[in-house]
Amino acid sequence: MKIDPFKELNPPTKDGYWINKKNKERYGGQYISPLLVPNLKRVQEGFFKAIKDKKFMKELNEELLSFIGVNTPIHFSPELTKLAGGEKKVGKIFLKRTDLHTNHSHKPISAYSCCKLAKYLGFKKVLTETGAFQNGRAVASACAALGLDLDIYVGANDAKKLAINKDISALHGANIIEVHDSTKSLLPAMAAALRAFQSEPDSMYIVGSVAGPHPYPLMVRTFASVIGRITKKQFKSLTGKDPSTIFAVCGGGSNLESITYPYIKSNKVKLYAVESAGKGIKTGKHGATISGGGKMGVLLGMRSKVLLNGGNIADSFTEASGLDFSSIGPEVAYLHSIGRIKFLTATDIEAKKTFMMMARKIGLICAIEACYVIHAAIREIKKTGKPKQNHLIHLCGSGEPNVAQMMEFMKKNK
């Protein structure tokens, strides 16, 4: 198994913008305090140097294969196919098994790659933020493997919740710092990590999605695209062609970009992002930046679509902690603005029912985040799927962290 080298298909400007040529809107950039400029420059220059460094990339790819285990299978699911209407009507449904990674989601790829970069650039310590400790765990594991110190910033309210990934982060030796600002949740934790980066220029900041100031969105999607590069090859050898559609859930957009990136210029492949509609878009309690009417704003160093509340950021709401984010990666917002990626939604209750269906009928315990995309994908395929098509759903994580929540749901719905 060899990982195909990365090809830049959608370069931003040198300042980190993706520009919609029609309406001139810009996505991305680097909106940060001047005190952070040198730190970001070090990361940015280091990143471009590293991805051209053959030895670095060879080592990284080997470690992604043997430590993270990125060569996960693609699983044809006769049961999901049947649920969507049957092969004769809608074609076949496949699952990309990203849940089988070390640490059980797509996050470990960019986490490990960024930590490897940190080490390559001589940083001794890493700073990151987390909501439900998915990113926290992934970075903690990478830092342990690479011998780096780590501070994880987490909103004080999030830190209170019992979470297996929080304990695992601690077992890996991470230092967990509670953030008491504002809503005490993911957003202020991200801001706090960026502020810490300003105070500790000898540490490298790492972000958990394709968000943040340039070069983070670019860097994370470049590293994460390993998933898509492997998928593209696997899918060709499995079916002889590219998939007709690809579906991925979208909080910040990293798992979406990780699998779709290599296909963005393949116009025959339809790309779908699924957001969390929470209690329903109309209730206002949702995490759907695009589908829920987010506006352009400037947040955490980037210009992108944001859920706004006056000049401040509106709280997002969803029971999937990995999707609880009031903005979206700038490249994703750009790809949506040019019509390349279509957006769908699923509600929390639909996702939870899908979790039970997957556990009962497919035998898999899926990350609740993945259940939004599975639900929306089956609904869409039912409506628009055609015979002989192949549909690919990104099963982006496994559901151990959701077990307690789902046991409650099961008991209530017996």
Partner: protein, 273 residues
């Protein structure tokens, strides 16, 4: 001539440095904040009024808490303009008001509307912490504000490159350039006088007449005195905000809180050379 330029001209004649006090606009609430600012105009040449942004990427925990207090009390850009407008009207002295904020509140308020409101109210200057030197928003704001004679301040720190500093000097118009005493958060470390000296000299080298403001971590009258030897403006923030918090927690009424804070501001201000 712009308000800030007028101020610097006057002080140059007196061979004195300016004192700038920072508060978060609307901290702990509209009424108290207004009283505090009014009182502070008696001791400050410049008042830097922070328009809160909950997702700030550069403020210290002390200022983050002030932001939280202000947001909870209902502050937003519109109210900040109203507050400053009332303070200016009701004090009738020469204190310059500088708005310090992040780009998002301005983008949401509307960039053009922001420039218009600033001008009509008589804002002396604007600092946007996270506006990149090369962003499209930078050009629009810099040009728009300059046309109205409103000052535009860039921030530089000891770790910035020569090129960045030169560019920052270029983008600073009708105002002082803001030099931080260290790379970090406001109020988080100790003042490094050496850094201050070096950066002030560097700025003067590139632009002889550029006024220099120095801030971050300046807490005592002694520090104010030392820094004012080099800087044209000495900026104090975190400790003033701490006084507001202290008074607020002691449940002082708006007038009493204003006096309590102003007493401390006066001490600092009088220490400028």
């Amino acid at each position: 001539m712009s308000k800030l330029n007028k101020l610097f001209k006057n002080l140059k004649i007196k061979k004195k440095s300016a004192f700038c006090g920072f508060v978060t606009s609307g901290d702990p609430n509209y009424a108290s904040s207004k009283a505090i600012m009014k009182e502070m105009t008696k001791h400050c040449h410049i008042i830097e009024a922070g328009q809160s942004f909950s997702t700030s990427t550069s403020d210290s925990p002390i200022i983050m808490e002030a932001n939280d207090r202000a947001i909870k009390s209902g502050m937003n850009m519109t109210k900040t303009f109203k507050l400053i407008k009332e303070v200016i009207k009701e004090t009738n002295n020469d204190t310059c008001f500088v708005i310090m904020t992040y780009l998002n509140p301005i983008v949401v308020y509307g960039v053009k509307k922001f420039i218009k409101s600033s001008a009509s109210i008589g804002i002396a200057g604007v600092i946007i912490v996270d506006n990149n030197l090369n962003s499209p928003e930078e050009k629009i704001l810099l040009n728009g504000l300059s046309k109205k004679g409103i000052g535009y301040t860039k921030i530089i720190s000891p770790t910035n490159s020569e090129k960045f500093i030169q560019q920052s000097i270029k983008n600073t118009k009708n105002s002082f350039i803001y030099i931080t005493t260290y790379a970090g958060l406001t109020g988080s470390k100790n003042v490094n006088l050496n850094n201050v000296k070096k950066l002030v000299y560097k700025v003067k080298k590139y632009s002889k007449n550029m006024p220099t403001g120095v801030g971050f971590g300046i807490k005592t009258p002694k520090q104010v005195k030392q820094v004012s030897k080099y800087a044209d403006v000495v900026i104090c923030g975190s400790n003033i905000v701490n006084k507001i918090k202290e008074g607020h927690e002691r449940r002082l009424s708006a007038p009493k809180l204003a006096k309590f804070v102003a007493k401390y501001v006066k001490q600092l201000s009088e220490s400028t050379k």
